[in-house]
């Protein structure tokens, strides 16, 4: 395999188009990937990046356009064929099987019939040579997301691909793990392999990518050299206009403010074999402040949110206190009645009932807290009042929709999230707990949501934000705590927090380390 042949393109995409119903997800996409380069595919959520790579890997069939591989027109009918060509894929939402071992997972994607033990030995050797140590006998369900990604990468490398597609690979990694990944990618480049790197994180694209293709609303809006661009200019290409920066005035007098949400020695046994137990979590959120909780996905954030929101009540009533009163034994409605509001991570099916209208979804979450307004005598629903309130929220949050009162599932992810956050904000809650507030939301809407959360805190509420997006937490939080393996570190005031410190905590450095930093700072 020869590296860096002059101008030789490994992959050329010409006019590739994919239409879903009325939506053109990819609209005449052109893309070249040269041999031995790391090529970035930039774009916001919903810009068509995933659709494009699914067509390259054969899981989706293009409506028109052509794909050239080493100059030859090819029709990639299925992933097996893509693999034969030499295209490997590391998926964003991992395509692993939890109940099988790492070696079995790898074996499943290899075409040859060699025995599992041989594959395990090969995988182990390869993983160590790339500095991504892997135990082939471990059960995937027991592994962290970072380790799972290693399996994906090793599985991909074992197929000796010429082009490796990585879909948002760092979204599940700590900053330190991401550094490790970049080293691996640079080594692969030096071996002459091409990499198509999909991301919406501009700094890392500037750092490792040689060229970039920017997508917006399914169209290519530009090709550029990311190293010659600034993060702001890349963002402008991605979004189409300048994204309003989030403004965070420093919080004042927090130390003496009233604690509105207190979590005391919260522990929880794992609910399923692969879920995380919570271990003695303590946290206070005071009126006027935003506390962020960072952490790699799957370290207990979901379990923590369920315990705080009351989806799973605690045995110890004092383990969660809202506005100075014990709330641990109450369910979600009881806690809402005490002035708290919750926004879960999963929008469809958890935050909203997909097949119900927005106004009906409003009633579902606020029938108890706003019972007087929304429900009349004899339990009759006051449709007019609910409709008016939902329109008020839609206006306040700038929710874009196609009908006056559409079903939740008909909204785009970003717009539905704006509605769900707005639905809770509209109550002016004293305590607001949000899990992944802007996951999969476009930059403009994300900035809007973040600004509203800061505004809520400054108006005297306590806001707790759980997020995997460190940039987001640094933008909005007054202090950041880190969740690792079911334990929560002490919150680090934003003035003292750095990516490096938070990253170390995310990777499991001992909490003592952070306390020490606090004292010396």
């Amino acid at each position: 395999m020869s590296a860096n042949q002059d101008g030789a393109n490994l992959l050329e995409v010409r006019g590739l188009t994919k239409v879903f119903g009325t939506l053109t997800a990819c609209d005449h996409i052109d893309l070249d990937v040269a041999k031995g380069e790391i090529h970035a595919l930039l774009g916001e959520n919903g810009a068509g990046k995933s659709t494009l790579v699914k067509m390259l890997f054969g899981t989706l069939e293009p409506n028109s356009g052509e794909i050239l591989w080493n100059g030859q027109a090819v029709t990639i009918t299925d992933p097996g064929f893509a693999k034969k060509l030499g295209i490997g894929m590391v998926f964003q939402h991992f395509s692993l099987f939890e109940a099988l071992t790492a070696a079995e997972n790898i074996a499943l994607s290899l075409e040859d019939g060699s025995p599992i033990s041989a594959i395990a030995a090969k995988a182990r050797a390869l993983s160590y040579s790339y500095g991504l140590p892997l135990d082939p006998q471990s059960l995937v369900g027991d592994l962290s997301v970072g380790e799972r990604q290693r399996i994906e990468i090793i599985r991909c490398l074992l197929q000796t691909p010429q082009l490796i597609i990585l879909d948002e690979p760092t979204s599940v990694l700590t900053p330190q793990e991401a550094d490790k990944l970049f080293e691996t990618l640079e080594r692969l480049r030096s071996e002459g392999k091409s990499i198509l790197y999909i991301s919406h994180r501009l700094e890392e694209v500037k750092r490792i990518c040689d060229r970039a293709t920017v997508l917006r609303h399914g169209k290519v809006v530009g090709h550029c050299n990311p190293r010659a661009e600034t993060a702001a200019s890349l963002a402008r290409m991605m979004v189409g206009n300048d994204v309003q920066a989030v403004v965070r005035a420093p919080a004042e007098g927090i130390e003496t403010a009233q604690p509105l949400l207190e979590i005391r020695a919260l522990s929880r046994k794992p609910a399923t074999p692969f879920s995380i137990p919570l271990k003695n979590i303590n946290l206070t959120v005071r009126a006027g402040e935003v506390i962020g909780i960072a952490g790699v996905a799957g370290n207990g954030q979901g379990e923590f949110f369920e315990s705080v929101s009351g989806e799973v009540p605690q045995q110890d009533a004092a383990s969660v206190r809202i506005r100075g009163k014990d709330a641990g034994g109450l369910g979600i409605t009881g806690r809402r009645l005490m002035g708290a509001a919750f926004v879960p991570e999963e929008r469809l099916g958890h935050g909203a009932a997909p097949r119900m209208k927005l106004s009906e979804n409003l009633l579902l979450s606020r029938h108890a807290t706003d019972g007087k307004v929304f429900v009349g005598a004899g339990g009759m629903v006051k449709s007019d009042a609910i409709y008016a309130a939902s329109q008020r929220i839609i206006e306040a949050m700038d929710v874009r929709k196609s009908a006056p009162d559409p079903e939740a599932a008909a909204l785009s992810g970003g717009n539905l999230q704006k509605f769900i956050v707005g639905r809770e904000l509209d109550r002016r809650p004293d305590v607001m707990v949000v899990n992944q507030p802007t996951w999969g939301v476009d930059a403009g809407a994300a900035a809007h949501i973040r600004q509203t959360l800061i505004g809520l805190a400054r108006s005297g509420s306590a806001v707790l934000v759980i997020s995997q997006d460190l940039d987001e937490l640094f933008e909005i939080s007054d202090a950041i705590a880190v969740m690792h393996n079911g334990e929560l570190s002490k919150p680090l005031p934003i003035a003292e927090a750095t990516f490096e410190k938070i990253g170390l905590l995310m990777g499991g450095a001992e909490p003592g380390h952070a306390e020490h930093t606090l004292e010396t700072a």
């Binding site: 054969g58 989706l60 693999k83 099987f97 099988l100 079995e104 997972n105 499943l108 399923t272 074999p273």
Partner: protein, 306 residues
């Protein structure tokens, strides 16, 4: 001694159809499909097996017909749930109801007719060995098929690459699809295999157990087979053990009645289901084991986007 051998033989005969139907359903469920139509496929096998055997006079042709009819009937389920992505529970239930009705209609002229019976194995010298001879070398052919089938399925699921692929589809069909595994094709084959097994189990009833045609002659055995799969937590050798335990209970209930032991027969016939509930409670305490053996995508329709 003779009585013991006779009881053991009747237990084996009672357990065989349960074992075959459950092993077939185990493969289906390991691929992530829940087919509640076992009872329906079984009775179709029974009526088809009896009919073909009665009309041709050859129980072997009857046996092939039973397998074929079960497989064809399961194909109906496969088209509905896999190609048209209908609800598996509802489709499976209607398959059972359809099978019971259809077989009754097909079998009206068979009622009361003497059927063909598959002969027991008779190996000169070996079958005559006291005690073990009849147990090991003197049973009906389907008994041997059932044991071989269990071993083959065990080997297939846990020792072959294709078996691993089948299990992976049951764990996560979306991941399997992303890897380029043909989810629907595998599931079609699994469902048809399950149907063929259920048909064979039904054929055992009308060609060996009681060589005649009686409406509803499966008498809930399809449901016991379904319960067995869960009872065995989707492991083949536990299905074998469970089938013989349930078979023993079934026979024990008949003997208890014959000896006039004052145990209500309804209680005894509900024992397999009670046992399944107890086992479910016990295995659900060990969540890790449950998770590793329960096909995670069981019962979920799969619709690939194209």
């Amino acid at each position: 001694m003779d009585i013991t051998v006779n009881i053991l033989l009747t237990i084996a005969t009672a357990a065989t159809p349960l074992l075959i139907a459950a092993i077939g359903e185990l493969v289906v469920e390991r691929s992530g499909v829940l087919n509640l139509g076992v009872e329906g496929m079984m009775i179709m096998g029974a009526v088809g097996g009896f009919g073909a055997g009665y009309l041709t006079g050859s129980p072997w042709i009857g046996l092939l017909a039973a397998i074929a009819l079960g497989a064809v009937f399961s194909l109906l389920f496969a088209v509905m749930t896999l190609s048209l992505a209908t609800n598996q529970v509802a489709t499976g239930l209607s398959l059972t109801l359809l099978g019971l009705g259809l077989s009754g209609m097909m079998g009206t002229s068979f009622v009361g007719q003497p059927g063909a019976r598959l002969p027991n194995l008779d190996i000169p010298g070996l079958t005559a060995i006291p005690v073990v001879g009849r147990l090991l070398f003197g049973q009906d052919p389907i008994f041997y098929i059932s044991i071989a089938l269990t071993a083959a399925v065990m080997w297939f699921l846990f020792k072959t690459r294709t078996g691993l692929t089948l299990r992976s589809i049951g764990d996560s069909h979306t991941s399997a699809h992303a890897l380029g595994i043909h989810v629907i094709r595998y599931r079609y084959l699994a469902v048809i295999f399950g149907g063929a097994c259920a048909g064979l189990a039904g054929g055992h009833l009308s060609l060996v157990y009681t060589p005649q045609w009686v409406e509803n002659m499966t008498a809930g055995r399809g449901w016991i087979a379904l319960a067995l799969v869960v009872f065995a937590s989707w492991r083949p050798w536990r299905v074998l053990a469970g089938a013989y335990i349930f078979g023993a209970v079934w026979i024990g209930q008949l003997h208890a009645q014959a000896f006039g032991i004052p145990v209500p027969s309804q209680l005894l016939s509900s024992l397999p289901y009670l046992a399944t509930i107890v086992v479910l409670v016990l295995i659900s305490r060990n969540k890790r084991l449950t998770m590793m053996n329960t096909p995670a995508s069981l019962g979920q329709p799969f619709v690939p986007d194209r």
